[in-house]
């Protein structure tokens, strides 16, 4: 049980590190939001599942799952609002230079 939760938490940390690298490296808002959603969906999911396994059955595990469901409902809403605001204010997506 303990080993399994450590494996889950390390996998979640790996995806979060990849997302942070992507947020620094990628060229514009639209692609950066992809990297941020990587951290939100998979990284948070793996880390919270690992923490819930470490906590064991009980009311705390249920609450951690509530936090997870809340993140899964709210994060796409915020990402969509940000991207729609960026698109409506006339920002053009980055294209690869055709040389």
């Amino acid at each position: 049980m303990n080993m399994l939760s450590i494996i889950f938490i390390v996998a979640g940390l790996f995806f979060m590190i990849v997302a942070a690298i992507g947020v620094i490296r990628l060229p514009d808002v639209f692609s950066r939001s992809h990297a941020a959603s990587l951290a939100d969906s998979l990284g948070a999911f793996l880390m919270l599942v690992g923490i819930a396994l470490h906590e064991g059955l009980g009311i705390n595990m249920l609450k951690i799952l509530v936090v997870l469901a809340l993140l899964y409902i709210l994060n796409p809403v915020i990402a969509h609002a940000t991207i729609r605001a960026a698109l409506r204010s006339g920002l053009k997506p980055w294209q690869k230079e055709t040389s």
């Binding site: 979060m16 590190i17 808002v29 880390m47 994060n75 990402a79 605001a85």
Partner: protein
């Protein structure tokens, strides 16, 4: 387990620093908003990990639920405002 949790906390703080770089450096205002959203997601997870490390999970989870809801309201309000106003700032 204690040292492992400490390492997790330190790594999360370093990742928050990476997102903070995007907030401070971002070319447009939407980059800053995106960075703020990422920071708050990581802060929620950081709160739960700190709670496990202090063995007071029941208290810290309530705080993190409230933090997630507040983050939704704040980010949505800023996004709606920017949508009407346009990105004339910077």
């Amino acid at each position: 387990m204690k040292t492992f949790l400490f390492c997790v906390v330190v790594l999360l703080v370093i990742l928050i620093g990476a997102f903070l770089y995007r907030v401070l450096q971002g070319p447009t205002i939407f980059d800053r908003l995106l960075g703020h959203n990422g920071i708050s997601t990581k802060a929620i997870i950081l709160l739960i990990v700190i709670g496990i490390s202090f063995e007071r999970v029941d208290m810290f989870i309530d705080i993190s639920i409230g933090y997630a809801l507040l983050n939704l309201v704040g980010a949505l309000a800023v996004a709606k405002y920017l949508e009407q106003k346009g990105a004339s700032i910077e």
